[in-house]
């Protein structure tokens, strides 16, 4: 296990991400989601795209009013990263895809490897 200094806390504000060249050629993305840090391997389990360089966004959930066609609400803004290739949505806080288990394809894992991030003396530190 190696420790990497990602940068100063002030350099990684909430809503931002920094790619750290560690662990594999595409590196690890370190995210700040509302003050908490998460790290995901920057390799989408689908076809290997640079997952952590995708948009940090939210997702939708269904809203059903009786007698009407279903509609949606926008939720979890800032907690989702969407792969810049085939748009798979991942929960930054868990590394799992947002689509449910029954939408998965057996041949693809639906989670990406996560890593531990801490802060020490004003620095963000990744363990990988």
């Amino acid at each position: 296990m190696t420790r990497y200094v990602v940068g100063r806390v002030s350099e990684l504000p909430p809503g931002s991400v920094r790619i750290v060249p560690a662990n594999n050629p595409q590196g690890i993305g370190v995210f700040n989601v509302r003050g908490a840090y998460y790290a995901l391997k920057n390799v989408c389990p689908h076809q290997g795209g640079p997952l952590c360089s995708g948009p940090i966004t939210g997702t939708t959930v269904a809203v059903q009013e009786p007698g009407a066609a279903p509609s949606f609400a926008w939720v979890r803004d800032g907690e989702i990263v969407r792969c810049p290739w085939h748009r798979w949505e991942f929960d930054i806080t868990t590394g799992r895809t947002v689509f449910t288990s029954r939408m998965r394809v057996a041949t693809y894992r639906v989670e990406v490897e996560t890593f531990r991030v801490t802060t020490v003396d004003g620095l963000v530190v990744l363990e990988a």
């Binding site: 076809q47 290997g48 810049p84 290739w85 085939h86 394809v105 057996a106």
Partner: protein, 366 residues
């Protein structure tokens, strides 16, 4: 004597753009070059959610639109993706078919001039790119002239037609175009484009992009394929070869099987058809691979690919730089075996387009 490298991966579907519209329109003669609102007609606003302009987000260059920078494209295609040769298919913004047959013919010619000058010219010193002769299917005489104009130029490897032409491609008004393609020794590629079509299916309009994008283009191609087969186009033009690009693969073997069954009972309607429809596919039809289907069970995909003779009919394509790009190292599962993978990644395209086995080494080789 320049060093050479073996060709291992041929990408049969990439989409390059001009940096700005003028790069294409400068090749237009008057009166069209000064035509008002030309740019708006050529950049049809999408009706469905366009999802980042349908582009891979990491393929956007620092300047210019996605697909316009040869340096970034070269790195992403040749180095990161390991592609050896790539065939450009000009569709989408800047390449929309136009309703005016004369303007459409003139603009297609300009598109081909632009390809020749840039991606097949100044950007192609390594010689890895090939192009497609864009033609106006609503102006068949002009389309024939355009094919003849580029016929001897080895950088253009096929004739390109859109998915929508007002009539299915087995209809007799297109015969002169197929004849011209055959005389030029060129296959005809069919790739979806935006603009001239409506969004109506035979049973109405679908609401969302994932619905329409999933089935709309395959439904067009299914019709064109059945039309070509039942009209006897491949018997009238024994040298005619069609490539259906980005239209899927898994749906066609069952469909042509259905056509075979119908032909057994209804063949009296098509006495000009001497051959069973499915027997014509191997000699006349190819399909590009992207997007490769992802069914729940690999065994189902393997069975459909065996039924459809993917080993001989399928050509690898990435669709770079679109968002549903297929990475060459991942798209064709190794579970299909080396023989199929090699034919799909290289040999089927080599046989169809007459590519060599080796290419000169260049700055993208390690």
């Amino acid at each position: 004597m320049r060093e050479e490298r073996p060709i291992r991966v041929i990408d049969c579907d990439v989409h390059f753009k001009p940096v700005a519209a003028e790069a294409v329109t400068e090749h237009l003669p008057e009166p069209w070059r000064s035509r008002r609102n030309l740019h708006r007609a050529l950049t049809k606003a999408p009706v469905y959610n366009p999802y980042t302009g349908a582009m891979r987000l990491d393929a956007k260059p620092a300047e210019g639109p996605t697909g316009s920078d040869p340096v970034l494209a070269g790195r992403q295609l040749f180095v990161e993706a390991g592609v050896d040769l790539a065939i450009n298919i000009p569709v989408g913004e800047h390449f929309c078919p136009l309703l005016d047959p004369d303007l459409n013919a003139a603009y297609s010619a300009a598109v081909n001039e632009w390809q020749a000058a840039t991606w097949l010219g100044a950007f192609n010193r390594h010689g890895r790119y090939r192009g497609s002769i864009s033609v106006a299917v609503n102006n068949v005489p002009a389309a024939v002239r355009e094919v003849e104009r580029w016929a001897g130029d080895p950088r253009f490897v096929q004739v390109l037609v859109p998915h929508h032409a007002g009539a299915p491609y087995g209809s007799p008004q297109f015969d002169p175009l197929w004849e011209a393609a055959c005389r030029a020794g060129l296959p005809v590629a069919l790739h979806s484009n935006v603009g001239a079509e409506t969004y109506h299916t035979p049973v109405g309009v679908l609401q969302r992009y994932p619905e329409y994008n999933g089935i709309g283009h395959p439904l067009f191609v299914a019709h064109h394929l059945v039309s070509l087969l039942t009209s006897g186009a491949f018997e009238r033009f024994p040298a005619l070869r069609f490539v259906f690009v980005e239209a899927g693969f898994s749906i066609y073997a069952p469909l042509v099987s259905r056509l075979d069954r119908n032909w057994e009972k209804l063949g009296g309607e098509v006495p000009h058809l001497r051959a069973r429809p499915s027997s014509q596919l191997r000699d006349h039809v190819r399909f590009s691979s992207q997007p490769v289907d992802e069914p729940e069970a690999f065994a189902d995909l393997a069975r459909i690919w065996a039924w459809g003779d993917a080993e001989h009919l399928l050509l690898f394509s990435s669709d770079y730089p679109h968002w549903d790009f297929d990475d060459p190292s991942r798209a064709i599962s190794p579970r299909f075996g080396d023989a199929l993978r090699q034919r799909v990644m290289r040999d089927n395209a080599r046989d169809l387009y007459g590519f060599p086995a080796r290419r000169p080494a260049d700055e993208y080789d390690a």
